[in-house]
Amino acid sequence: MRTVFINTLIETGKKDDRIVLIDADLGKAGATASFAQTFPERHINVGVAEANMIGVAAGLASVGKIPVAQTFGCFASRRVFDQFFISVAYAHLPVKLVGTDPGISAAFNGGTHMPFEDLGTMRLIPDLTIVEPSDPVSLAGLLPEVLAQQKPAYIRLYRKPLPVLYSEGEPFQIGKCKVLRQGGPNSVLLIALGGIMVQEALEAAKILEAQGISVTVIDVLTLKPIDAEGLLSAMKNARAVISCENHQIHGALGSAVAELMAEYRIYKPFGRIGIRDEFGQVGTEQWLKEHFKLDSRSIVEAATGLLQK
Protein backbone atom coordinates (compact mmCIF):
# COMPACT_ATOMS: atom_id res chain seq x y z
CA MET A 1 0.00 0.00 0.00
CA ARG A 2 2.83 2.41 0.81
CA THR A 3 4.22 1.97 -2.71
CA VAL A 4 0.83 2.74 -4.21
CA PHE A 5 0.58 5.73 -1.91
CA ILE A 6 3.94 7.19 -2.85
CA ASN A 7 3.57 6.43 -6.56
CA THR A 8 0.15 8.09 -6.62
CA LEU A 9 1.62 11.08 -4.78
CA ILE A 10 4.44 11.30 -7.33
CA GLU A 11 2.04 11.07 -10.27
CA THR A 12 -0.22 13.75 -8.78
CA GLY A 13 2.85 15.78 -7.86
CA LYS A 14 4.02 15.80 -11.48
CA LYS A 15 0.79 17.50 -12.48
CA ASP A 16 0.55 19.75 -9.45
CA ASP A 17 3.71 21.41 -8.15
CA ARG A 18 1.91 22.61 -5.02
CA ILE A 19 2.26 19.16 -3.45
CA VAL A 20 4.94 19.01 -0.75
CA LEU A 21 5.66 15.86 1.29
CA ILE A 22 6.81 16.18 4.89
CA ASP A 23 8.35 13.39 6.94
CA ALA A 24 9.29 13.32 10.60
CA ASP A 25 12.14 10.82 10.45
CA LEU A 26 9.87 8.01 9.28
CA GLY A 27 10.63 8.42 5.59
CA LYS A 28 12.12 4.94 5.42
CA ALA A 29 9.01 3.39 6.93
CA GLY A 30 6.87 5.32 4.47
CA ALA A 31 9.19 4.56 1.52
CA THR A 32 9.22 8.23 0.61
CA ALA A 33 12.69 8.15 -0.98
CA SER A 34 11.26 8.00 -4.50
CA PHE A 35 9.25 11.17 -3.92
CA ALA A 36 12.32 12.88 -2.46
CA GLN A 37 14.37 11.85 -5.50
CA THR A 38 11.72 13.07 -7.94
CA PHE A 39 11.06 16.36 -6.13
CA PRO A 40 14.02 17.09 -3.83
CA GLU A 41 12.87 20.64 -3.05
CA ARG A 42 9.34 19.50 -2.32
CA HIS A 43 10.32 16.91 0.24
CA ILE A 44 11.02 18.05 3.79
CA ASN A 45 12.25 15.91 6.65
CA VAL A 46 11.73 17.83 9.88
CA GLY A 47 13.38 15.20 12.08
CA VAL A 48 11.67 13.67 15.10
CA ALA A 49 9.56 16.78 15.62
CA GLU A 50 5.94 16.09 14.77
CA ALA A 51 4.56 19.27 16.31
CA ASN A 52 6.83 21.36 14.11
CA MET A 53 5.90 19.19 11.14
CA ILE A 54 2.24 20.17 11.52
CA GLY A 55 3.09 23.85 11.97
CA VAL A 56 5.40 23.88 8.95
CA ALA A 57 2.65 22.15 6.95
CA ALA A 58 0.16 24.81 8.05
CA GLY A 59 2.54 27.58 7.01
CA LEU A 60 3.13 25.95 3.63
CA ALA A 61 -0.61 25.59 3.10
CA SER A 62 -1.12 29.26 3.93
CA VAL A 63 1.10 30.23 0.98
CA GLY A 64 -0.76 27.95 -1.42
CA LYS A 65 1.00 24.60 -1.09
CA ILE A 66 -0.71 21.26 -0.58
CA PRO A 67 1.36 19.72 2.20
CA VAL A 68 1.14 16.00 2.89
CA ALA A 69 2.51 15.27 6.36
CA GLN A 70 3.20 11.65 7.17
CA THR A 71 3.96 9.80 10.37
CA PHE A 72 2.67 6.84 12.38
CA GLY A 73 -1.02 7.21 13.24
CA CYS A 74 -0.28 7.30 16.96
CA PHE A 75 1.86 10.43 16.53
CA ALA A 76 -0.38 11.95 13.87
CA SER A 77 -3.28 11.90 16.31
CA ARG A 78 -2.29 11.65 19.97
CA ARG A 79 0.96 13.60 19.78
CA VAL A 80 -0.07 16.56 17.65
CA PHE A 81 -3.81 16.78 18.16
CA ASP A 82 -3.75 20.42 19.25
CA GLN A 83 -1.34 21.48 16.50
CA PHE A 84 -3.53 19.79 13.90
CA PHE A 85 -6.70 21.13 15.47
CA ILE A 86 -5.59 24.78 15.78
CA SER A 87 -2.87 25.45 13.21
CA VAL A 88 -4.54 23.34 10.50
CA ALA A 89 -8.24 22.61 10.98
CA TYR A 90 -9.35 25.72 12.87
CA ALA A 91 -7.22 27.80 10.51
CA HIS A 92 -8.97 26.13 7.52
CA LEU A 93 -5.69 25.12 5.88
CA PRO A 94 -5.65 22.19 3.42
CA VAL A 95 -2.99 20.04 5.09
CA LYS A 96 -3.29 16.31 4.40
CA LEU A 97 -2.20 14.33 7.43
CA VAL A 98 -1.34 10.68 6.86
CA GLY A 99 -1.43 8.35 9.86
CA THR A 100 0.18 5.02 9.03
CA ASP A 101 0.20 1.72 10.90
CA PRO A 102 -3.41 1.93 12.07
CA GLY A 103 -4.57 -0.13 15.03
CA ILE A 104 -3.20 -3.65 15.26
CA SER A 105 -1.00 -3.19 12.20
CA ALA A 106 1.49 -1.51 14.55
CA ALA A 107 2.10 -5.14 15.65
CA PHE A 108 5.61 -5.46 17.16
CA ASN A 109 5.77 -1.76 18.03
CA GLY A 110 3.02 -2.53 20.53
CA GLY A 111 0.80 -0.43 22.75
CA THR A 112 2.84 2.76 22.58
CA HIS A 113 2.51 2.85 18.80
CA MET A 114 -0.94 1.29 18.36
CA PRO A 115 -3.58 3.89 17.55
CA PHE A 116 -7.01 2.61 18.56
CA GLU A 117 -8.25 6.17 19.03
CA ASP A 118 -6.95 8.22 16.09
CA LEU A 119 -10.21 8.08 14.15
CA GLY A 120 -12.29 8.89 17.24
CA THR A 121 -10.28 12.00 18.04
CA MET A 122 -10.07 13.11 14.42
CA ARG A 123 -13.79 12.61 13.94
CA LEU A 124 -14.43 15.32 16.52
CA ILE A 125 -12.67 17.91 14.37
CA PRO A 126 -15.31 19.94 12.50
CA ASP A 127 -15.44 19.55 8.73
CA LEU A 128 -12.41 17.26 8.55
CA THR A 129 -12.29 14.67 5.78
CA ILE A 130 -11.30 11.22 7.06
CA VAL A 131 -10.62 8.33 4.69
CA GLU A 132 -9.29 4.82 5.15
CA PRO A 133 -8.75 3.11 1.79
CA SER A 134 -9.13 -0.67 1.82
CA ASP A 135 -7.02 -1.81 -1.13
CA PRO A 136 -4.49 -0.46 -3.66
CA VAL A 137 -7.16 0.62 -6.14
CA SER A 138 -9.23 2.55 -3.61
CA LEU A 139 -6.07 4.20 -2.31
CA ALA A 140 -4.98 5.26 -5.79
CA GLY A 141 -8.51 6.44 -6.49
CA LEU A 142 -9.20 8.36 -3.29
CA LEU A 143 -5.82 10.01 -2.73
CA PRO A 144 -6.06 12.43 -5.70
CA GLU A 145 -9.60 13.33 -4.58
CA VAL A 146 -8.35 14.12 -1.08
CA LEU A 147 -5.44 16.16 -2.45
CA ALA A 148 -7.80 18.16 -4.67
CA GLN A 149 -10.06 19.20 -1.79
CA GLN A 150 -9.38 22.69 -0.46
CA LYS A 151 -9.64 21.47 3.12
CA PRO A 152 -7.71 19.42 5.65
CA ALA A 153 -7.89 15.66 5.74
CA TYR A 154 -6.74 12.66 7.75
CA ILE A 155 -5.76 9.64 5.69
CA ARG A 156 -5.48 6.42 7.67
CA LEU A 157 -2.99 4.34 5.76
CA TYR A 158 -2.19 0.65 6.10
CA ARG A 159 1.39 0.37 4.84
CA LYS A 160 1.70 -3.34 4.03
CA PRO A 161 0.34 -5.12 0.92
CA LEU A 162 -3.41 -5.71 0.71
CA PRO A 163 -5.35 -7.84 -1.80
CA VAL A 164 -6.98 -6.00 -4.68
CA LEU A 165 -10.74 -5.60 -4.22
CA TYR A 166 -11.67 -3.27 -7.04
CA SER A 167 -11.10 -3.31 -10.78
CA GLU A 168 -8.74 -0.77 -12.28
CA GLY A 169 -10.58 2.41 -13.16
CA GLU A 170 -13.27 1.99 -10.51
CA PRO A 171 -14.35 5.53 -9.58
CA PHE A 172 -14.12 6.64 -5.95
CA GLN A 173 -15.69 9.64 -4.32
CA ILE A 174 -15.08 11.13 -0.90
CA GLY A 175 -18.14 10.50 1.25
CA LYS A 176 -19.30 7.45 -0.69
CA CYS A 177 -19.13 3.88 0.53
CA LYS A 178 -19.02 0.84 -1.74
CA VAL A 179 -21.13 -2.30 -1.59
CA LEU A 180 -18.52 -5.00 -1.99
CA ARG A 181 -20.88 -7.91 -1.67
CA GLN A 182 -24.60 -7.66 -2.14
CA GLY A 183 -26.62 -10.14 -0.11
CA GLY A 184 -30.27 -10.95 -0.63
CA PRO A 185 -33.15 -9.10 1.03
CA ASN A 186 -33.03 -9.40 4.79
CA SER A 187 -29.33 -10.14 4.88
CA VAL A 188 -26.84 -9.47 7.64
CA LEU A 189 -25.11 -6.15 6.94
CA LEU A 190 -21.39 -5.91 7.71
CA ILE A 191 -20.13 -2.32 7.60
CA ALA A 192 -16.34 -2.46 7.53
CA LEU A 193 -13.63 0.20 7.55
CA GLY A 194 -10.04 -0.32 6.40
CA GLY A 195 -8.19 -3.12 4.66
CA ILE A 196 -7.90 -5.50 7.59
CA MET A 197 -11.56 -5.33 8.56
CA VAL A 198 -12.91 -5.43 5.03
CA GLN A 199 -10.93 -8.64 4.45
CA GLU A 200 -12.24 -10.15 7.68
CA ALA A 201 -15.80 -9.11 6.85
CA LEU A 202 -15.57 -10.72 3.41
CA GLU A 203 -14.21 -13.91 4.96
CA ALA A 204 -16.98 -13.89 7.58
CA ALA A 205 -19.55 -13.42 4.80
CA LYS A 206 -18.32 -16.58 3.07
CA ILE A 207 -18.62 -18.60 6.29
CA LEU A 208 -22.09 -17.23 7.03
CA GLU A 209 -23.30 -17.83 3.49
CA ALA A 210 -22.14 -21.43 3.84
CA GLN A 211 -24.45 -21.62 6.87
CA GLY A 212 -27.30 -20.24 4.77
CA ILE A 213 -27.11 -16.70 6.10
CA SER A 214 -27.12 -14.03 3.42
CA VAL A 215 -24.61 -11.22 3.95
CA THR A 216 -24.03 -7.75 2.50
CA VAL A 217 -20.58 -6.22 2.97
CA ILE A 218 -20.01 -2.47 2.76
CA ASP A 219 -16.58 -0.90 2.47
CA VAL A 220 -16.97 2.45 4.25
CA LEU A 221 -13.82 4.13 2.80
CA THR A 222 -14.80 7.59 4.10
CA LEU A 223 -15.47 7.82 7.82
CA LYS A 224 -16.19 11.55 7.64
CA PRO A 225 -18.42 12.72 6.09
CA ILE A 226 -20.07 9.32 6.56
CA ASP A 227 -22.17 8.15 3.62
CA ALA A 228 -25.48 8.33 5.49
CA GLU A 229 -27.53 7.78 2.35
CA GLY A 230 -25.62 4.67 1.27
CA LEU A 231 -25.54 3.16 4.74
CA LEU A 232 -29.19 3.90 5.57
CA SER A 233 -30.37 2.39 2.36
CA ALA A 234 -28.46 -0.82 3.12
CA MET A 235 -29.60 -0.82 6.76
CA LYS A 236 -33.24 -0.65 5.76
CA ASN A 237 -32.95 -3.98 3.96
CA ALA A 238 -30.88 -5.67 6.66
CA ARG A 239 -32.01 -8.03 9.39
CA ALA A 240 -28.96 -7.19 11.53
CA VAL A 241 -26.17 -4.64 11.35
CA ILE A 242 -22.56 -5.05 12.49
CA SER A 243 -19.84 -2.41 12.31
CA CYS A 244 -16.27 -3.69 11.95
CA GLU A 245 -13.26 -1.50 12.72
CA ASN A 246 -9.60 -1.80 13.68
CA HIS A 247 -10.16 0.85 16.35
CA GLN A 248 -12.03 1.44 19.59
CA ILE A 249 -15.74 0.79 19.12
CA HIS A 250 -16.26 4.21 20.73
CA GLY A 251 -15.94 7.38 18.74
CA ALA A 252 -15.36 6.19 15.21
CA LEU A 253 -17.23 3.77 12.93
CA GLY A 254 -19.22 1.94 15.62
CA SER A 255 -20.42 5.23 17.02
CA ALA A 256 -21.20 6.70 13.61
CA VAL A 257 -23.32 3.68 12.66
CA ALA A 258 -25.09 3.63 16.04
CA GLU A 259 -25.86 7.35 15.72
CA LEU A 260 -27.33 6.88 12.26
CA MET A 261 -29.48 3.96 13.37
CA ALA A 262 -30.75 5.81 16.44
CA GLU A 263 -31.42 9.09 14.67
CA TYR A 264 -33.16 7.44 11.72
CA ARG A 265 -35.09 4.97 13.89
CA ILE A 266 -33.64 1.83 12.42
CA TYR A 267 -34.45 -0.53 15.24
CA LYS A 268 -32.61 -3.66 14.25
CA PRO A 269 -30.18 -5.99 16.01
CA PHE A 270 -26.85 -4.19 16.10
CA GLY A 271 -23.35 -5.25 17.08
CA ARG A 272 -19.91 -3.71 17.01
CA ILE A 273 -16.62 -5.42 16.20
CA GLY A 274 -13.64 -3.44 17.44
CA ILE A 275 -11.46 -2.75 20.43
CA ARG A 276 -13.41 -2.71 23.66
CA ASP A 277 -11.85 -0.05 25.84
CA GLU A 278 -8.38 -1.58 25.90
CA PHE A 279 -4.85 -0.41 25.16
CA GLY A 280 -2.79 -2.02 22.44
CA GLN A 281 -0.03 -4.54 22.98
CA VAL A 282 2.70 -6.36 21.05
CA GLY A 283 2.07 -9.41 18.88
CA THR A 284 1.76 -10.46 15.27
CA GLU A 285 -1.08 -8.89 13.39
CA GLN A 286 -2.82 -12.29 13.24
CA TRP A 287 -2.45 -12.87 16.97
CA LEU A 288 -3.71 -9.36 17.73
CA LYS A 289 -6.64 -9.82 15.38
CA GLU A 290 -7.71 -12.92 17.29
CA HIS A 291 -6.85 -11.49 20.71
CA PHE A 292 -8.96 -8.38 20.18
CA LYS A 293 -11.71 -10.38 18.41
CA LEU A 294 -11.42 -8.53 15.13
CA ASP A 295 -11.14 -11.75 13.10
CA SER A 296 -13.72 -13.32 10.80
CA ARG A 297 -14.62 -15.91 13.42
CA SER A 298 -15.55 -13.21 15.88
CA ILE A 299 -17.66 -11.49 13.21
CA VAL A 300 -19.44 -14.78 12.48
CA GLU A 301 -20.10 -15.29 16.20
CA ALA A 302 -21.44 -11.76 16.54
CA ALA A 303 -23.75 -12.27 13.55
CA THR A 304 -25.14 -15.60 14.68
CA GLY A 305 -25.52 -14.19 18.18
CA LEU A 306 -27.57 -11.28 16.91
CA LEU A 307 -29.79 -13.55 14.84
CA GLN A 308 -30.53 -15.81 17.81
CA LYS A 309 -31.68 -12.92 20.00
Partner: protein, 279 residues
Protein backbone atom coordinates in the same frame (compact mmCIF):
# COMPACT_ATOMS: atom_id res chain seq x y z
CA UNK B 1 16.09 57.37 10.57
CA UNK B 2 15.24 61.05 10.42
CA UNK B 3 13.78 62.79 13.42
CA UNK B 4 10.60 63.33 11.46
CA UNK B 5 10.34 59.65 10.64
CA UNK B 6 10.94 58.69 14.26
CA UNK B 7 8.23 61.07 15.45
CA UNK B 8 5.80 59.68 12.88
CA UNK B 9 6.42 56.09 13.97
CA UNK B 10 6.15 57.04 17.63
CA UNK B 11 2.87 58.78 16.89
CA UNK B 12 1.67 55.64 15.09
CA UNK B 13 2.67 53.57 18.13
CA UNK B 14 0.71 55.93 20.37
CA UNK B 15 -2.33 55.55 18.13
CA UNK B 16 -2.03 51.76 18.30
CA UNK B 17 -1.93 52.00 22.11
CA UNK B 18 -4.92 54.32 22.26
CA UNK B 19 -7.08 52.15 20.03
CA UNK B 20 -6.05 48.96 21.81
CA UNK B 21 -6.76 50.35 25.26
CA UNK B 22 -10.10 51.69 24.04
CA UNK B 23 -11.05 48.31 22.51
CA UNK B 24 -10.14 46.35 25.63
CA UNK B 25 -11.43 49.03 28.00
CA UNK B 26 -14.77 49.22 26.23
CA UNK B 27 -15.14 45.47 26.57
CA UNK B 28 -13.94 45.66 30.18
CA UNK B 29 -11.40 42.84 30.08
CA UNK B 30 -8.51 41.69 27.95
CA UNK B 31 -4.88 40.84 27.38
CA UNK B 32 -3.60 44.35 27.85
CA UNK B 33 -0.09 43.61 29.12
CA UNK B 34 1.28 41.60 26.21
CA UNK B 35 -0.52 43.82 23.70
CA UNK B 36 1.21 46.94 25.02
CA UNK B 37 4.68 45.39 24.98
CA UNK B 38 4.66 44.73 21.21
CA UNK B 39 3.28 48.11 20.11
CA UNK B 40 6.60 49.60 18.95
CA UNK B 41 7.63 46.59 16.87
CA UNK B 42 4.21 46.63 15.18
CA UNK B 43 4.56 50.36 14.51
CA UNK B 44 8.01 49.94 12.95
CA UNK B 45 7.03 46.89 10.90
CA UNK B 46 3.84 48.43 9.50
CA UNK B 47 5.45 51.85 8.97
CA UNK B 48 8.44 50.88 6.92
CA UNK B 49 9.40 47.22 6.74
CA UNK B 50 6.52 44.80 6.30
CA UNK B 51 5.37 45.02 2.68
CA UNK B 52 1.59 45.02 2.68
CA UNK B 53 -1.37 46.28 0.74
CA UNK B 54 -4.48 46.97 2.83
CA UNK B 55 -6.60 46.90 -0.32
CA UNK B 56 -5.30 43.45 -1.20
CA UNK B 57 -4.61 41.55 2.03
CA UNK B 58 -4.13 38.31 0.04
CA UNK B 59 -1.34 39.80 -2.12
CA UNK B 60 0.90 36.78 -2.78
CA UNK B 61 4.21 38.69 -2.68
CA UNK B 62 3.50 40.45 0.60
CA UNK B 63 5.61 40.02 3.69
CA UNK B 64 3.83 38.10 6.41
CA UNK B 65 3.56 38.37 10.14
CA UNK B 66 2.76 35.48 12.44
CA UNK B 67 1.80 36.82 15.84
CA UNK B 68 2.46 33.60 17.68
CA UNK B 69 1.47 35.17 20.99
CA UNK B 70 -2.02 35.39 19.52
CA UNK B 71 -3.53 36.89 22.67
CA UNK B 72 -1.85 40.18 21.72
CA UNK B 73 -4.17 40.29 18.71
CA UNK B 74 -5.91 43.53 19.81
CA UNK B 75 -2.66 45.49 19.32
CA UNK B 76 -2.22 44.04 15.84
CA UNK B 77 -5.89 44.73 15.02
CA UNK B 78 -5.33 48.38 15.90
CA UNK B 79 -2.26 48.56 13.66
CA UNK B 80 -4.16 46.90 10.80
CA UNK B 81 -7.19 49.17 11.18
CA UNK B 82 -4.97 52.27 11.29
CA UNK B 83 -3.29 51.03 8.12
CA UNK B 84 -6.68 50.68 6.44
CA UNK B 85 -7.23 46.91 6.35
CA UNK B 86 -10.68 47.42 7.87
CA UNK B 87 -12.69 50.27 9.44
CA UNK B 88 -11.56 51.58 12.81
CA UNK B 89 -15.01 51.04 14.28
CA UNK B 90 -14.51 47.29 14.01
CA UNK B 91 -12.08 47.66 16.91
CA UNK B 92 -14.93 48.24 19.34
CA UNK B 93 -16.48 44.90 18.38
CA UNK B 94 -13.57 43.04 20.00
CA UNK B 95 -14.76 39.70 21.42
CA UNK B 96 -18.44 40.48 20.88
CA UNK B 97 -20.46 37.58 19.46
CA UNK B 98 -20.10 37.49 15.68
CA UNK B 99 -17.08 39.83 15.63
CA UNK B 100 -14.30 39.56 13.08
CA UNK B 101 -11.83 40.47 15.81
CA UNK B 102 -11.58 37.58 18.27
CA UNK B 103 -9.30 37.69 21.31
CA UNK B 104 -6.74 35.51 19.51
CA UNK B 105 -5.65 35.98 15.90
CA UNK B 106 -7.73 34.13 13.30
CA UNK B 107 -6.68 34.20 9.65
CA UNK B 108 -10.16 33.22 8.52
CA UNK B 109 -11.86 36.18 10.19
CA UNK B 110 -9.65 39.26 10.01
CA UNK B 111 -8.21 40.94 6.91
CA UNK B 112 -4.44 41.23 7.34
CA UNK B 113 -4.06 38.35 9.79
CA UNK B 114 -1.72 35.85 8.14
CA UNK B 115 -1.93 32.97 10.61
CA UNK B 116 -4.30 31.64 13.22
CA UNK B 117 -2.62 31.54 16.61
CA UNK B 118 -3.51 31.42 20.25
CA UNK B 119 -2.52 27.95 21.37
CA UNK B 120 0.96 29.03 22.40
CA UNK B 121 4.10 27.70 20.80
CA UNK B 122 2.73 26.99 17.34
CA UNK B 123 3.36 30.19 15.40
CA UNK B 124 7.08 29.90 14.77
CA UNK B 125 6.57 26.55 13.03
CA UNK B 126 3.96 28.10 10.76
CA UNK B 127 6.33 30.99 10.05
CA UNK B 128 8.96 28.40 9.06
CA UNK B 129 6.48 26.81 6.65
CA UNK B 130 5.61 30.20 5.15
CA UNK B 131 9.29 31.11 4.70
CA UNK B 132 10.03 27.71 3.16
CA UNK B 133 7.03 27.94 0.83
CA UNK B 134 7.97 31.45 -0.29
CA UNK B 135 11.49 30.29 -1.03
CA UNK B 136 10.09 27.36 -3.06
CA UNK B 137 8.22 29.92 -5.14
CA UNK B 138 11.33 32.07 -5.57
CA UNK B 139 9.87 35.00 -3.65
CA UNK B 140 12.02 37.49 -1.77
CA UNK B 141 9.21 38.12 0.75
CA UNK B 142 10.10 38.21 4.43
CA UNK B 143 8.29 36.31 7.12
CA UNK B 144 8.16 37.94 10.55
CA UNK B 145 7.13 36.16 13.74
CA UNK B 146 6.59 37.50 17.23
CA UNK B 147 6.78 35.04 20.09
CA UNK B 148 6.34 35.69 23.78
CA UNK B 149 8.86 35.03 26.51
CA UNK B 150 6.40 32.93 28.49
CA UNK B 151 5.49 31.23 25.24
CA UNK B 152 9.15 30.30 24.83
CA UNK B 153 8.52 27.63 27.47
CA UNK B 154 6.75 25.62 24.77
CA UNK B 155 9.06 22.99 23.27
CA UNK B 156 7.68 23.35 19.75
CA UNK B 157 9.51 26.70 19.46
CA UNK B 158 12.78 24.87 19.80
CA UNK B 159 11.80 22.28 17.18
CA UNK B 160 11.09 25.19 14.86
CA UNK B 161 14.34 26.88 15.88
CA UNK B 162 16.36 23.85 14.80
CA UNK B 163 14.37 23.54 11.58
CA UNK B 164 14.80 27.19 10.58
CA UNK B 165 18.55 27.17 10.98
CA UNK B 166 18.93 23.72 9.38
CA UNK B 167 16.99 24.96 6.35
CA UNK B 168 18.85 28.30 6.40
CA UNK B 169 15.61 30.29 6.37
CA UNK B 170 17.26 33.70 6.12
CA UNK B 171 14.03 35.45 5.17
CA UNK B 172 12.59 34.52 8.55
CA UNK B 173 12.94 37.26 11.16
CA UNK B 174 11.57 36.54 14.61
CA UNK B 175 11.15 38.68 17.70
CA UNK B 176 10.96 37.60 21.30
CA UNK B 177 8.82 39.96 23.36
CA UNK B 178 10.96 39.67 26.48
CA UNK B 179 8.77 41.51 28.96
CA UNK B 180 9.89 39.19 31.78
CA UNK B 181 6.36 38.35 32.91
CA UNK B 182 4.00 35.46 32.30
CA UNK B 183 0.58 34.64 33.70
CA UNK B 184 1.70 33.19 37.00
CA UNK B 185 4.58 35.56 37.74
CA UNK B 186 8.02 36.64 36.58
CA UNK B 187 9.53 34.40 33.93
CA UNK B 188 12.67 33.98 36.03
CA UNK B 189 10.56 32.51 38.83
CA UNK B 190 8.20 30.36 36.75
CA UNK B 191 10.63 28.90 34.20
CA UNK B 192 13.81 30.90 33.83
CA UNK B 193 14.82 31.49 30.23
CA UNK B 194 18.41 31.85 31.39
CA UNK B 195 20.81 32.85 28.66
CA UNK B 196 18.14 33.54 26.08
CA UNK B 197 20.60 35.01 23.58
CA UNK B 198 22.91 32.04 23.97
CA UNK B 199 20.02 29.64 23.48
CA UNK B 200 19.02 31.10 20.12
CA UNK B 201 22.64 31.45 19.05
CA UNK B 202 23.22 27.82 19.97
CA UNK B 203 20.29 26.88 17.78
CA UNK B 204 22.04 28.52 14.84
CA UNK B 205 20.27 31.87 14.72
CA UNK B 206 21.79 35.30 14.37
CA UNK B 207 20.77 37.10 17.54
CA UNK B 208 20.24 40.82 18.04
CA UNK B 209 19.09 42.43 21.26
CA UNK B 210 17.58 45.83 21.88
CA UNK B 211 15.14 47.99 23.78
CA UNK B 212 11.83 46.89 22.29
CA UNK B 213 10.27 50.30 22.85
CA UNK B 214 12.98 52.18 20.92
CA UNK B 215 11.74 52.57 17.37
CA UNK B 216 15.14 53.61 16.02
CA UNK B 217 16.81 50.54 17.48
CA UNK B 218 14.05 48.34 16.05
CA UNK B 219 14.37 49.92 12.63
CA UNK B 220 18.15 49.40 12.54
CA UNK B 221 17.88 45.81 13.76
CA UNK B 222 15.22 44.88 11.22
CA UNK B 223 17.28 46.47 8.44
CA UNK B 224 20.29 44.46 9.55
CA UNK B 225 18.21 41.28 9.84
CA UNK B 226 16.98 41.68 6.27
CA UNK B 227 20.54 41.70 4.95
CA UNK B 228 21.47 38.54 6.85
CA UNK B 229 22.09 35.51 4.65
CA UNK B 230 22.28 31.82 5.47
CA UNK B 231 20.55 31.89 8.83
CA UNK B 232 17.34 33.12 10.48
CA UNK B 233 17.44 36.10 12.83
CA UNK B 234 16.05 36.40 16.35
CA UNK B 235 15.62 39.92 17.68
CA UNK B 236 15.24 39.82 21.44
CA UNK B 237 13.29 42.84 22.54
CA UNK B 238 13.61 43.93 26.15
CA UNK B 239 10.14 45.24 26.81
CA UNK B 240 7.84 46.21 29.64
CA UNK B 241 4.57 44.33 29.95
CA UNK B 242 1.75 46.85 29.91
CA UNK B 243 4.09 49.59 28.59
CA UNK B 244 2.47 53.00 28.18
CA UNK B 245 -0.84 52.00 29.78
CA UNK B 246 -1.12 53.71 33.16
CA UNK B 247 -3.18 51.05 34.89
CA UNK B 248 -1.28 48.08 33.50
CA UNK B 249 2.41 48.97 33.26
CA UNK B 250 4.42 47.14 35.87
CA UNK B 251 1.37 45.33 37.22
CA UNK B 252 2.18 41.63 37.47
CA UNK B 253 -1.50 40.82 37.01
CA UNK B 254 -1.78 42.57 33.66
CA UNK B 255 -1.72 39.50 31.42
CA UNK B 256 -5.50 39.36 31.15
CA UNK B 257 -7.14 41.91 33.40
CA UNK B 258 -10.40 43.67 34.10
CA UNK B 259 -10.43 47.31 33.04
CA UNK B 260 -12.86 49.90 34.40
CA UNK B 261 -14.11 52.83 32.35
CA UNK B 262 -12.29 55.19 34.72
CA UNK B 263 -8.99 53.34 34.28
CA UNK B 264 -9.45 53.45 30.53
CA UNK B 265 -10.15 57.19 30.51
CA UNK B 266 -7.13 57.97 32.68
CA UNK B 267 -4.85 55.89 30.43
CA UNK B 268 -6.25 57.44 27.25
CA UNK B 269 -5.93 60.96 28.65
CA UNK B 270 -2.28 60.32 29.55
CA UNK B 271 -1.52 59.08 26.03
CA UNK B 272 -3.38 62.00 24.47
CA UNK B 273 -1.32 64.34 26.66
CA UNK B 274 1.89 62.70 25.46
CA UNK B 275 0.75 63.21 21.91
CA UNK B 276 0.14 66.91 22.48
CA UNK B 277 3.54 67.32 24.07
CA UNK B 278 5.05 65.57 21.08
CA UNK B 279 6.79 62.99 23.24
Amino acid sequence: MTNEERLAIEAFAREIRIHTIRAIGTLGVGHIGGAMSIVEVLAVLYSKHLRHDPKNPAWRERDRLVLSKGHAGPALYSALALRGFFPLDWLLTLNQGGTRLPSHCDRTKTPGIDMTTGSLGQGLSAACGIAYGNRLDGLESYTYAIIGDGESDEGQNWEAAMFASHKKLDHLIAFTDYNKMQIDGYTQDILDLGDIEGKWRGFGWRVLRLDGHNVEALDSAISLAKTTRGQPVMIIMDTVKGKGCSFAEGNLGNHNMNVTKEQMEVALAALAGEGREGK
